[in-house]
Each structure stands twice: as C-alpha cells, then as structure tokens.
C-alpha cells in the first residue's frame, strides 16, 4: 500500500504542495484563465505575461487544491518561466503522455530532457487514474490562458 503512495507523494511534491512557488498574481498579465476540477472542487487561476518572441516572461497561479494539483501548478510555473509558448506547449504534451501513459513518446527538440526529468515526480499519478486530472489541471489552465480562453475545466 505504502509504496505506490510514496511514489505519488514524493518529498518534492509535498514540498511544492506546502510551499507553492510563484503563488501570486501578475499585475501586468497579458492573459489569465480559471481552471476548475468539478469533481473535487479544486480551483485555480493561472496568470501569464507573454512578451517579445512569444516568451513567457512571467507566470504565476493562485487557488486551492489538493497536494498534487498545487504541486503540479507550482512546478509548472518554474518550468515554463522564460520558455516560449511553443516550448511550454510541447512540454505539456510530453507531460500529459507521462501522466496518462497514452500516446507515443516522441523526441521533441522543443523539450528540454532535464525539465521532463523534473516532472517525472508527478508520474506516480498513473497508478491513480482519478488523480491524473489533478496533475494536469494547471497545464490545461495555462493552455487556456495562452489561447485567451477564460475558463478551463479538467472534466
């Protein structure tokens, strides 16, 4: 019982869950979106500022959620900060694959292997299908913010 749980709740996740990074808003945001998981009531807002060359100059989030969704959001803000929108999108694609085990893992020049490596701490959700949405909520919301949608739902 405990092994899979330890795999899910690794120290890094517990740390990000308790002390989320970039947990604030962005005053001069160029986009933001609300994300919700109707199943568990998790809600968060992702803010971002995209500048020249489609570079994400600032990204942050606020909201309430379980350890997995908060940790995932926190790690996401760290990883996409300074990346281009395209790079962020490519990273999400690979991360989504990692969480669901669906689709083929293809090498993508846009994805830094180190970033992907950091995200593997969240891949424990694969053993907990109902929790995959917790891990991907922030990323879906980031996508919505990039695309200029105001709402995103993990349902």
């Amino acid at each position: 019982m405990m092994d899979e749980l330890r795999e899910l709740y690794q120290e890094v996740i517990l740390d990000h869950g308790k002390n989320p990074r970039n947990f604030r808003d962005v005053e001069d945001a160029t986009g933001h979106a609300h994300g919700k998981n109707p199943l568990c009531g998790d809600q968060l807002v992702v803010y971002l500022k995209v500048g020249q060359g489609n570079v994400i100059q600032d990204v942050s989030f606020v909201g309430k959620g379980c350890a997995i969704s908060v940790a995932s959001a926190s790690m996401m803000t760290e990883l996409v900060m300074g990346k281009t929108v395209e790079q962020a999108h490519a990273l999400f694609e690979r991360f989504h694959q990692m969480c669901t085990g669906e689709g083929e893992a293809i090498d993508d020049a846009d994805v830094d292997p180190d970033d992907l490596e950091k995200l593997t701490v969240l891949s424990g959700v694969r053993a907990f299908p109902v929790r995959v949405k917790c891990a991907t909520l922030a990323w879906h919301t980031l996508n919505a913010a990039i695309e200029g949608k105001e709402e995103s739902s993990s349902e």
Binding site: M1, M2, E4, L5, L8, Y9, L14, L39, C40, G41, D42, Q43, K64, G65, C66, A67, I68, F128, R131, C134
Partner: protein, 420 residues
C-alpha cells in the same frame, strides 16, 4: 403482523447482530489493495444484500415479461411482482394508498417530476419557492430552471452554526407568496436531521405545498409520510441497499390527481385517438413506457430486508456508530467536523488541517477505506462553510465500530504522510 407496535418492541429487544447482516452482503468480503473493504461511502450508494441480488436474478429467471399489458401467464407474474413492490414501498413509507407511490428512475427524476408537473401547473409568476442552503443540487437546479422560465422567486433558508436549519429564518421567510417548500429531510453533507413535521406544519399554515427529499432519511430512520403530512416525499433505491435505476415519488392522492402527466407514452393513457388522449388512473399516469421492472422488484426486496431488521434498530445501531466515530475522530489533531446538530444521522463530514480532502481520500483508500471527498453535490453549502471540499464518512447498517477504528487509523497515517 397482528400488532406492529408489539412486534417492534420485541424486535428492539433483540441484539443487533451486525456480523450476521454483514454475511448477507457478498461485496463486504472483497479486498481492496490487499486490505478488507471498509465501506463508508453509503451516502453516495449502499451495497446490496444477497436477498436483493437474488430477487433480481429471480425475476429474470422465473417471472419476467412486460407488465400491465400481457394477458399471458408471465406478464401476470411480472405485474404481480412489480405491483407487490409498490405495496411494500407503500408500507415502508406508511402511505395511505398504493396509488400514491410512483416509481421513478431515481430521486432526481422524482424531484424533477414534481417540478415539471405540479410546479409547472400551479406556480405562477411572483410565487416563491423555499429551499434550504443544505440542499443537494438535485433539489436546487430543477427549481432554478423552473424559476427562470416562469418568473418565480427561489429563496434558500440559512443554517445555524451547528448545521441545523435556521427555523427562525424559515418562519420569517415563509410569506403569503410562498407556494412551495422543498427541503431535505436529512442533509447528505452534514447529516443534520431536519424537523420535517414542524417544517411541514408551518409551511401548510402559510399555504405552501411541501416536498421532502428523503434520499438520506429513508435509509437512516423510519419514515411515516402520513405522520409528516408532507405533500411529496422522494427517495432513491440504490441508497436503500436496492438496485440503481429505481426511485420513488410519494404524493398525496389529491396532489397527484391534480397534476398533469410528466412523460407521455404507453401505459400512462386510458384511450388514445389522433385527436387527443385521456390519462390512466394513478399511479400509471406517471409511469409512461416500460418501467424498471426488475429494479422495482429489487427495491421491494430491499424494503423487505431493512424492514425485517427493523428501521428503528438500524437507526439505533447507526447512532451508536455515529457517537463512537465522532468521538474517535475528534481526537485527531486538526480534524474539524462540519455539522454538529444534536439530531444527526451517521454522516460525518470533516476536514483535516494541512491535508486536502482529495489527498485524504486517496491515502485512506490504500488502507481499504472508501470515503467520499469533494463538495457532495452541495456547492452552495460548501461555499457558505468556506471549504472547497470535505471528506465524508457515511455509515450503513453493516458498518461496525472496527470500521470507525480503521478510518481513524488511516487518517492518522495520512497525517503522518504529510509530516503532521
């Protein structure tokens, strides 16, 4: 039974043999992640005893055909069994007449049926509907939809700090415009047992019709619709140890007679011509199309099952569980229970400081403990309480003190996990 009161008192004197009842539920011997199943999600849906499972199998093996239409032997058998289930439900709720019992798909459909027939016909623009803040979404959303269409006013009675219906506010909110009061008998999220008889009396004095949502109450306590004097009472089969796919609408005969049909189709008509149709008598008027035959018969078996044990005794057993579990849970640091009304069913909603309810549910699941985490389809209540989600342990007739211990132990390991 020659004398129900006497029979009840003899029953009450018998010891409650929970281990014997547990043996009736095959699923309770399943293991989850290598641990015995500790099922504390009865508020969402209850497990089924062998007697119900067998009754459903029996229908398909020995007495199945369509009901109400065949002149052949099997149709008669099936019709007898189906109508027999209705009689059992009538007895279970102590309704005056069999024809006051309508089979529906679930409690949600029963609620929508009242909204779309009684509500549609008798509520006029400006009329007020009174619900409470502790309603399940199924007793909020259908009224909202009707209110928007017809220009009605929907008002929600607040609750006290303990999670009881604020009766002072209720009295004040009842006005001459209030034409419908629709309130839950027991809160699914807080466990509060509302004073349904008093609510009904006050509402009737104000000239309003009363609907009680008995989805939780019919499972946890004896219900007597004549004593309550409500106009409508709804509950669902799957929470009462019966199959999913069947629920019940009880309505006073005069109310049901005055209402237009809900769905049109076969079985609900008397005569049909291309120019127009006339409606069948109760209860068929509200049961268009082939009904949930085996499910209704299964519900009848579930009613027999709980009646044989005795709803009073189930209620007393669950009260023991509630007291014990509440006391044990309270010893966990940072644990807060939502809903502390003096009259409460064995439904315990809580949060643990520092651990989100979704994480709790995942961790305790690995210990075999099944609880619900989330908003319990009661988002307005959760918003008022200021919590996005709680964990809810809801007990049933087969739960034991050891189940409460397993929950507490699992919660302690969850806290440990989070370094608390």
């Amino acid at each position: 039974m020659s004398n129900p009161a006497q029979a009840a008192s003899i029953e009450a004197a018998l010891p409650y043999d929970v281990e014997a009842y547990r043996k009736d539920f095959p699923i309770l011997s399943e293991t989850v992640h290598g641990r015995p199943l500790v099922y504390l999600d009865n508020g969402a849906s209850a497990q089924k005893p062998r007697q119900v499972i067998d009754a459903i199998t029996h229908v398909y093996e020995h007495e199945y055909a369509n009901v109400h239409r065949g002149v052949h032997y099997m149709s008669e058998r099936a019709t007898d069994a189906y109508e027999g289930a209705r009689r059992k439900v009538q007895g279970f709720l102590n309704a005056k007449h069999e024809r006051e019992i309508i089979f529906t798909r679930n409690a949600t459909e029963a609620l929508n049926m009242v909204v779309r027939t009684h509500g549609q016909k008798f509520l006029q623009p400006g009329d007020e509907i009174l619900i409470s803040i502790m309603e399940h979404h199924s007793n909020i959303v259908p009224w909202q939809m009707l209110a928007a269409e017809k220009g009605l006013k929907l008002k929600a009675v607040p609750i006290t700090e303990d999670g009881e219906l604020n009766m002072t506010a209720f009295r004040e909110m009842l006005t001459p415009e209030t034409k419908m009061v629709a309130i839950t008998h027991i809160s699914n999220a807080l466990g509060t047992i509302n004073d349904a008889a008093e609510i009904t009396r006050l509402a009737h004095d104000a000239g309003a019709a009363v609907l009680l949502d008995g989805s939780q109450a019919a499972v946890h306590m004896p219900v007597d619709v004549q004593a309550l004097d409500c106009d409508f009472y709804v509950f669902t089969g799957h929470k009462l140890y019966g199959p999913s796919g069947v629920g019940v609408l009880y309505g006073k005969e005069a109310r049901l007679e005055a209402m237009p049909p809900f769905l049109g189709g076969g079985d609900m008509i008397e005569t049909v011509t291309l120019e127009g149709s006339t409606w069948a008598a109760l209860p068929n008027k509200f049961e268009a199309g082939t009904p949930m035959i085996a499910q209704a018969i299964g519900l009848g078996a579930a009613v027999d099952y709980v009646t044989n044990i005795g709803m009073d005794r189930i209620s007393a057993h669950e009260e023991d569980l509630r007291r014990y579990a509440t006391q044990r849970l309270s010893s966990i640091p940072g644990l807060k229970i939502y809903g502390t009304a003096p009259r409460k069913a064995a439904v315990i909603s809580f949060t643990v400081e520092g651990v989100h309810s979704h994480d709790i549910a995942t961790i305790i699941d690995r210990a075999g403990v099944a609880c619900r985490a989330g908003h319990h389809c009661a988002q307005p209540l959760m918003e008022m309480l200021g919590v996005p989600a709680t964990t809810r342990a809801s007990f049933g007739l087969y739960n034991t003190l050891a189940d409460a211990d397993a929950l507490v132990e699992a919660l302690e390991s969850a806290r440990e996990f989070f370094g608390l």
